[in-house]
Every structure is written in C-alpha cells, then in structure tokens.
C-alpha cells in the first residue's frame, strides 16, 4: 500500500465554545502501534470518537487508505475497517460472549453461519473458547475487556482503536492484556492505544503522540517524547519541567 494506513489532517472538534481537539495532524503506518497519551481532559477520547465516527469533526479530514472516513456515521466507519473498544466496557451484558462477538461479525459476514465461525475463530485466537456460552455480565472485568477486543476483532479491522484498556485492572490482568495487544500487533494489526498509564504506553508503542488541552504537543519514539520538556510540563507542571533543567 502506498502511504500510511490512517491519515488525520487538521482535525478539530468543537463542542459549543469548547475546543476539545485542535488542529491535530498525524498518520499511522500499516502494522504500526501508535500510543496516544495526555493528561485528563486532553481530548484523547474525543479524538478517538472522531476517528471512529462517533463524533463529527468540526473541521479536518480522516482517511483510511484512500477512503474518507470523517463525516461518516460510526457504523459505516466500522465497516470500513476501523474497530474500537470503549473506555467503560459497553458490551451487550445480557448476551453470551459468543453472541456479542457474533453480532459484530454478522455486520461483515455474508451469513450467520459465517459470523458464528468468525466468532469461534476470534475466541480461539484470544483463548476464550471456554467462555463462549457465558453471559457477559457474569464475567470478571478483565475478561469483559477481552470480549471488547474480540468484538472489535470480529469486524476484521484494518485498524484497532483501544481506549484505556487497563483502567480498573490489576497488575497481572494488565500484563495479560498487554500480551494480547502485542500478539495482535505482531500478527500485523495496526493499532492505536490510548492510555494514561505511561508504563504501558512505553512498553507497547512504536511511536507516541501527546495531546494536551486538545493540542498535539509532541510526537515521536516513546523515549524521546518522554524527555520532551513540553510533555513533562503538561504532566507535572511548569516548575517540575524547570527543575529538570530544561528551559520551558
């Protein structure tokens, strides 16, 4: 494929007087894992929602491959190959794991039989075959998060958007999910991860984009970005940045 998989240009999202995302530009290459970080209220989730079609951008364009995504409703975006998870788990609680995953498979598979087969395939990939017939509301949070991933994967996405997967998880559960994300990305799935646990981002990402108050303040390899004084300032405040001996 020529050029990047995802290309975001001049993305701005305004809610009334509030500018949640302000003129953000970035690209994601095929097979890449991009991390997006920023303090609370930095506009990470809003930007995600814009890419996923859940929020209509005020201006700017979003393309996957050659296809224009911005302005399309979320269901179309999903069918174009951008799948997402939700920050607070939003599964169909009364349905079984299999039904949850079959549902999203059913929107891209030609028949229900194919959708069921796709759900089985995804479940096996994530090691959840044994959970298939359990209702989601009876699962622990960590497993529910995996079902969210499974439901997104069933769409055969070109790009996977993961929103704060680690919130509410303990150390070993976090490790487990990190393993899953690495495995999927290792198999070639392009992924964008939002996370406020920096350690997770450092470990996972090939490249990091930092947002603060809706503005893109840094972009680059994780190590470099972490040393960027603007990033330190955004996270820790001006004085900390100065104490580190860097001009603000």
């Amino acid at each position: 494929m020529a050029g990047p998989l995802l290309r975001v240009e001049g993305l701005t999202v305004r809610f009334g007087g509030l500018v949640a995302v302000n003129d953000v530009h970035f690209t994601v290459d095929d097979g890449e894992l991009l991390g997006i970080i920023g303090p609370n209220g930095a506009g990470k989730t809003t930007m995600f929602n814009a890419v996923a079609g859940a929020v209509r951008p005020t201006s700017g364009t979003i393309r996957i491959g050659d296809e224009l995504v911005s302005g399309k409703p979320p269901e179309r975006v999903a069918r174009l190959g951008i799948a997402r998870t939700f920050q607070s788990v939003r599964l169909f609680k009364a349905m079984t794991v299999a039904e949850n995953v079959t549902l999203s498979a059913s929107t891209v598979c030609p028949s229900m039989a194919a959708a069921r087969a796709r759900a089985d395939e995804v479940a096996e990939l994530l090691g959840m075959t044994a959970l298939q017939q359990i209702r989601v509301e009876e699962l622990p949070l960590a497993d529910q998060k995996k079902v969210e991933i499974a439901r997104a994967l069933a769409l055969r996405p070109k790009l996977l958007l993961l929103d704060e997967m680690m919130s509410g998880l303990n150390q070993s559960e976090t490790r487990d999910i990190i393993g899953v994300i690495k495995q999927l990305n290792g198999d070639g799935l392009t992924t964008i991860v939002i996370e406020h646990v920096l350690r997770v981002i450092m470990e996972l990402s090939h490249r990091v984009l930092v947002l603060d108050h809706g503005v893109q303040i840094a972009e680059g390899p994780p190590r470099d970005v972490m040393r960027d004084p603007r990033v330190v300032e955004a996270y820790l405040g001006r004085s900390a940045a100065q104490n580190l001996g860097e001009p603000a």
Binding site: R90, R135, L155
Partner: protein
Amino acid sequence: MNAVTRLLRSTGGLGLVVLVLVASLPLWFIQTNFVLSVATLTLIFMAASLGWNVISGFGGQISFGHSIFFGLGAYTTAILQVHYHLNAYLGVLLGVVVAVVLAVLLGAVTLRLRGIYFSLATFALTLVFAILTGHYEGFTGGEVGLTLPLLGDAPGEFSFENKVTFYWIAMILAALAFVATWLVLRSRLGLQLRAIQADQEAAQASGVLAFRVKLTGLVISAVPAALAGSVYMQYVGFIDPDSAFGATVATQIAVIAFVGGAGKLWGPVVGAVILVPLQQLLNSSLSAYPAGFNLVVYALVVLVILWIEPRGIMSMRFRRRRARPPTGAAPPGEPDPEPAAAVPSSREAG
C-alpha cells in the same frame, strides 16, 4: 422439517404441547360460542402482540402505536369491501400493504427518536389516526364506524356461518406470527435488534446499521398487527376509530407483551392467554358485573404481575432455581439448544 424440530427443541417442547392444546380447544368447547369467541379474540391480539415484540421487545423501541397497523388492517379491509365491493381476501392483503407503507413512512420519522420519545411519538400518532378517522366520515363512517355487510356463509368472501372457522384462522395467524418472530429472533436481524436494545452506540460501533435494522424490524412487526386487524374486522364485522386506533388498543397490544415478558419469545403468548380472556370474561355487556369492573380486575392483575416481576411472567423463576452451573456450562435457566452463538440466552428469549 428441520426448522420445526429446532423450534420445538429451542422452546423446550412447550411449543408442541401448546399447539396440541390450542388446536383441540374447539373440540371441547364447541358448544359454547362464548368461549370460542374469547379464544378467537385471544389469538388475534396474541398475533398483534407477537408482531409488537419484534421492534419493541427485541429491538427495545417501545411502541404505543401498533394500533396504527391494527387499525389500518381493519379499516383498509372494511373500506375496500364496503365502498368498493372488493374481495375480502384481497382487502386483507391490501391492508398489509398499506400498513407496511405506513410503517416505512412513520418509521422514517420516529425511529430517529430514542427511548421514551419514540414511545410518545407513536402514541400521539395513533391518536391522530383515531381523530382523523372520526373526522373524515364520508370514507370511514366517522365516529359511528363501519359495519361489514352480512353475507352469511360465503367462504369466498371471508364470511363463515360456523364461527369455529374463524377460530382456526386466528390460530393459524397466531402460529404464523409466532414462527415468524422465532425466525427473526434467531436471525441476524434479531441479534442486531437485541444489540440495539442493549446499547445502540455499541451496536453501531460494531457495524450495525441501526436505523435500517430498526426500520426493517418495524416493518416486519407491522405485518402481524395489520393481519390481526383485518381478521378482527372480518370476525367482528364492525370497527370504529376507538376500537381501531384508540389508546386502549394501543396500550393493550403492548401490555399483553409486557405482562408475558417483552422480548421473550413466549411473552406475548402468555400475556394474551391471561389478559384477553380476563377482560372478556368479566365484560359487563355479557355478564352482571357493573361497567368498569372488568378493567378494574384487569388493571389489578397487571399491577400484581408486574409488581412481582417488572420484566413479566417469563422472567419469573417459580422457585425452580437450579444451582448455577460451573463456569463454562450453559447459562442458568434452561439448556441452551444451540451452543454455536446466535441462539438467544434464556434471559432474552426465555
């Protein structure tokens, strides 16, 4: 045949028992016309409520306007027969066509509304239909209503001397509606409707074309309601704005399903079997009870049932609660007949 076996299995054999019982009913009660009439009306409203269950029960878009489709079925049949002397069966068919067209038009407007707004809009619209049919009396007979000509025994015109025939027709209608909703429930459409009910945004993020799915659901759900209206018209021989589009019919169709269990396959069946006879048996025009008494009892029964279980009878546990199976086994309630996904879990389909 395969589908029939699966239906029986997935409904726990209950289907077969009910089918035999219902089919043989006239053989026991053939003498008493009253029981026959109650049973026929039960089946007619059961069919309408089964239709309701598709968009409102599975899809979660609670309609208080299914009387629109019921009434359109009844009025279309009646108007075509009275004013144009059209064949009754053709009238029934056209009634369905009119209802489907209206479902598309009304759905295009109202299905963009969420939650309670959809319910209120459908409720207001059915009352609009009631008022308009009352107003334009040249066509509809106005507040007085329309009466079908008495044709005696004319099977070619949907008129039968023997009322048992209507019972059979109503039974076939209810059975078809039941099978149709069962097919919807285990189809892609059913799964997507249930997902929309649970969380529309999440469903859309999974690629569900929410508006199109809801519109399809509404259209499908209008068909049994319209057929029920047509059969009601042919059976009773009379319709007026209130018994077609009025608030009572509008809510009746929904309440039947809620009492039995909205979103459950058997909900409308159970609800109709309890509520319609109750209402008819205590009807003042047929008994010594004072006016209003039947509906007081009706309301109390609804209150008690929903007080015990707001999700309806099919969600009640009846103290048969089995020990929860260990992780990995079928969900509690009843054995899952088809392990491979899209068969609804017990909570949804009961």
